[in-house]
Symmetry: C2
Subunit: 112 residues, 2 copies
Amino acid sequence: MEPNPVIKGSLTTIILKLLEQNSRMYGYEMTRAVREVTKDRMDITEAALYPALHKLVDEGLLETTSEVVEGRIRKYYSLTKKGKKESLIKINALKEALESLNLILNSNLGNA
Amino acid sequence: MEPNPVIKGSLTTIILKLLEQNSRMYGYEMTRAVREVTKDRMDITEAALYPALHKLVDEGLLETTSEVVEGRIRKYYSLTKKGKKESLIKINALKEALESLNLILNSNLGNA
DNA sequence: ATTAATACCTAACAAAATTAGGCATTAAAA
DNA sequence: TTTTAATGCCTAATTTTGTTAGGTATTAAT
């Protein structure tokens, strides 16, 4: 079973959600966390992830600190004050959008 | 309250779902149906809808018949045989993706 | 010595929606 | 009666976002 790709537009919100619950994480760790909670049913690719992280830093929602752990660089990301506000908004917006989508996918639309 | 935009990538599946339950619909009608079931919380724009419909026709998933009703043209779309098969697959794939997303948005990710 | 896992990254491209319109008819409101 | 809202179709340019396809480097296991 190939994992589902990320639903377009949701990656940024996924990142914010992860950081809302963990205070700091590094990129590679995020990819593992998503695989773990979704039991390999969703995969966020690094090629999408890193540019998304950099964009969030540019927008002032994330800040970074780097560390060397076991000879390898880890770049930790965490929410800024602005990022904390925005994450609440975006997580909520996505949840609402998912509820609407579920309504469409699970309702009888017109032929009742 | 501005309606949520369609979650990117889901529009095609929404169309297939609508036609799975209605046998035939025209574009404008689809926009109203989505607004109705989601109580105006989701809006599918015509600028996204019509190109998506044309693409589905090109791919052989939809077929069309046109009618003039009250002086205005209506272009009805319905699922082809191939479209019926594909709609089941795509609707299911989207549902699975939504479940994964819900797992991410509603779980405790690491700080439990 | 090679492979897998960890850990970061970019560039070219494609997919999909948004923004910003256009055109035409009918019904309602000013 | 002229303007606006609703119905109904559509396209073009741009932007957003992810995919494909790599690259680099270290550590641990085979």
